[in-house]
Amino acid sequence: MLKNKSIAVKLILLYTLSGGLIFLLVFSFHYHFSRKMIERKLADNAKNLVLSKVNRIEAALLALQKIPENLACFLESGSYTRESLLALLRLLVEKNPDIYGASIAFAPDGADLQWRSFAPYYYKLRGRIEFVDLSKASYDYTGWDWYQIPKELNRPSWSEPYFDEGAGNIFMTTYSVPFYMDKAGTRRFAGILTVDMNLERLQEVVSSIKVLQTGYGFLISKNGTILTHPIQSLIMNETLFGVAEARQDAQLREIGRKMIRGESGLLPFKDIVSAELCWMYYTPIPTNGWSLAVLFPQQEYIADIKSLNRIVIVLGIAGLLLLSLAVAFIARSIARPLRQMAQAANTIATGNLDIDLPTVKSEDEVGKLAEAFQYMKESLKEYIRQLTETTASKERIESELNIARQIQMNILPRIFPAFPDRPEFDIYAVIEPAREVGGDFYDFFQIDPTHLCFVMADVSGKGVPASLFMAVTKTLIKAMAGEETRPEVFLAKVNDELARGNEASMFVTVFCGVLNTETGEVVYANGGHNPPLVVRREGGVAYLDGIAGLVLGAMEGITYTGEHLILGPGDALFLYTDGVTEAMDKDQALFSEERLQQDVMELRGRPIKEMIKGVLEKVKLFTEGAPQSDDITMMVVQYHGQTRPS
């Protein structure tokens, strides 16, 4: 899908996406790591905070425990009177601000009769010390927890906290210590000593716990009763288990069980006040088995990270935008010249080389490309200029060549019938020049009134040199034949002339014959040319035997052999150049001497002009569609004899 998008879009997408990915990875790692760090710190802080509070509570409880414990020892010594005991108890309540009340409850069935059912209780009420003897009250104190539990357990015990309306709505807990007396050598339970402790101070210790905005601490008793909590209605009214039941929160119940079992721990906890996720650290107060828990609001702890994260995200997005802009800028600086160059290339393709190319100042790849483009345009322009010139000069040369060709053709005798006043023979020739100037030529002329010289020649090579060589050869032959009727002689002379100073090593094949117009005898010499066909009036058509001598112009001093042939009336000689026999069709097949012989055979008896035209037609038919590579030259010399047959 990106295939059709521009470079800019691709780059922006790619860089922004990969940049975004990197950013996300770094961000998540950072978030995770910093969160873990804070959680670790939080755990340490939580422990320290909770333990310090627990220690304060512990200190208060332990200090209080000492009083009845010491008093129990004193009681067990037995050296006191009721009065001294009452005074001591009263003093104890009076002098200890933490003590709300204290009692010595002797067992009703105690060993020592004098102490049976004696239960003095001093307590504070509106700043005064009040006294009551619990054994005189209408209720049986032996059934109460403060008495029964330490008695049955044989050890001191802290009571479940309670709410004392009579004392002015204060929370209290009672520490009870059993004491014993020896009777007849056995240690027997003698009663319970109690001190009532005002819990307000301890509650303050806990309710003063503030962790950030919403964190708080709460204290539960051994039964799970909530002793301090931001929700007032829970205090002394609910156990943690009741809250769990009301909220159908099995996890809370499990936490509560751990707390009352005296375990410590840090756990994630959904605050029942704010419903926010918190970390809760809880640890027991060893002295009385209560448990203190402190909630550390997770959201607030990670609030800093969160706000930092928001900044980081904003920065990251800004960075990505900036990156996209930068990429867009770079992409544009690359793509714009490229686009312009593409347009320029299109324009150049239409042939307009004069347009301005985009200027690229940078020296980067695009700059190099623009430079190369500029160079290419200029080279093209230069090349086209040269090409135009070359074409012009070539056209000139071609026109000159055409003129040369016309001149060349013009030097050949082209008026037929050539000798209208000579009925004893007839001659007809045709030259079908190839596109290029060739070297074929024919000629005929009268050496004297009874001797007709005819020439068929083919100069090696093509073009202007060939045509010039041809002109020279033709002129030489005509000149040399003027003083000599034997073709072997004048051909030798022509050869010598041609060979002399033939720097270009050109040569020419020549068949030259001299017809005695009176006798019909033909003397001929062959300088390397294709043997002509002898067309007999009666009989066949055959290639002329005889020595094919060497080509003219190759070397000096060559002698040619003159041979004789008698033409009867109506016989004819068919001369041609290899342009005929070597004419090729599309398949590169040659017209061939056999085919020529056959065609001439078929056309035998026709007027020579028709014969030549007929052969020419056949050749053209044969070469249908294939370009003509060589001049096609044919000439027929027919002897009619002295008396022309009618």
Binding site: Y123, Q148, D164, K222, N237, G242
Partner: protein, 329 residues
């Protein structure tokens, strides 16, 4: 601990009474005292009152506040209340002592009294209680446990149990007495799970003592039987309403609790109301709500005889009066 004394004294001096309606000219005046201080154990009566069921039956009722030192039998005998809620066992004993009281409706069909032990103390069967310390409440609460120990031939150390289960929770006793709708839940909500506890329901050990019933004096009934029947009908209607509208019923009960200045705990009251439903609806669907079954009556009487609490068993027909028409809606 002083606060408890204060509560006790204050309860003795003046029972909190509810103001009677001024427009009740045509209504018959009557008073009722529940067995204990306000809680869901008595939801049906409070709901019937608040929903106007008593007024609809022509009664201008006053519900007196019950409590630990407000024994209903005294209120009945001293004619301080026309109708009282009492345990069946207590009522039979009073009747055999000559108090002419009548059961006009047995609300609770099954005994809610139970023994509870921590499985961790090795108690899982009645036999495993042998030699253990067992917390027992006084009075009528001890009849069933003692019969239970006899039945299983157990020798246990009996420790008087007071108002809390803390002695049990701290390990001072191995077995505690508990009311299913009350102390048992307190134990659960002190962090002990049901699967950690071994429970012994007396009705599952052939000692079903149906508890709360409604009593009036014979002459009160004879003077105006329709009043007693109207009271019963309205009360049962109240129970039906409470069970089908538990949240509304709890709201009413909690209002009474806070009026009595007792810590209110909705979760606990909900548990209690749900258990009351279990206890009040007779298991046998053919028996209508509020019926005292003769078999229960005779079983209790027999056990009371065995324990020496009663010398004679009053006749069932002279003890239980069933109103002419079915009280159920």
């Amino acid at each position: 601990m002083l606060h408890l004394l204060v509560i006790l004294f204050s309860l003795m001096l003046g029972a909190g009474s509810l103001p009677s309606d001024a427009h009740a000219a045509a209504l018959k005046k009557a008073t009722f005292i529940p067995l204990w201080s306000p809680q869901a154990q008595f939801a049906g009566y409070y709901v019937a009152y608040e929903k106007g069921f008593y007024r609809a039956k022509g009664i201008d009722l006053t519900i007196l506040q019950g409590g630990p030192n407000q024994p209903p039998n005294e209120f009945l005998e001293q004619r301080k209340a026309d109708f009282v809620c009492m345990w069946l066992s207590a009522a039979i004993q009073r009747r055999s002592k000559g108090v002419k009281l009548l059961n006009i409706g047995q609300i609770i069909q099954r005994s809610a009294l139970m023994l509870v032990a921590k499985k961790s103390s090795g108690i899982s069967t009645p036999g495993s209680m042998n030699g253990k310390k067992v917390g027992i409440w006084g009075g009528d609460f001890q009849i069933q446990p003692r019969a239970f120990f006899d039945k299983y031939n157990l020798r246990v150390t009996i420790v008087p149990q007071s108002f809390s289960v803390n002695l049990f929770l701290r390990g001072g006793v191995d077995v505690a007495s508990a009311m299913w709708y009350n102390e048992y839940h307190t134990i659960l909500n002190a962090g002990l799970n049901p699967d950690e506890l071994a429970t012994f329901f007396f009705d599952e050990h052939g000692l079903n003592f149906p508890e709360d019933g409604i009593y009036t004096l014979e002459d009160t009934y004879k003077k105006d039987p329709s009043l007693s029947c109207a009271f019963m009908e309205a009360s049962l209607e109240g129970w039906h309403y409470a069970f089908s509208h538990p949240d509304e019923a709890l709201d009413i009960v909690l209002r009474y609790i806070s009026r009595a200045k007792i810590p209110a705990n909705r979760v606990h009251q909900r548990w209690m109301l749900e258990r009351m439903k279990d206890l009040i609806f007779p298991r046998d669907k053919k028996i209508s709500m509020g019926t005292l079954q003769q078999a229960d009556y005779e079983r209790i009487s027999l056990e009371l005889m065995k324990s020496g609490a009663v010398k004679t068993i009053p006749d069932y027909r002279s003890f239980f009066v069933r109103c002419g028409r079915d009280a159920e809606k």
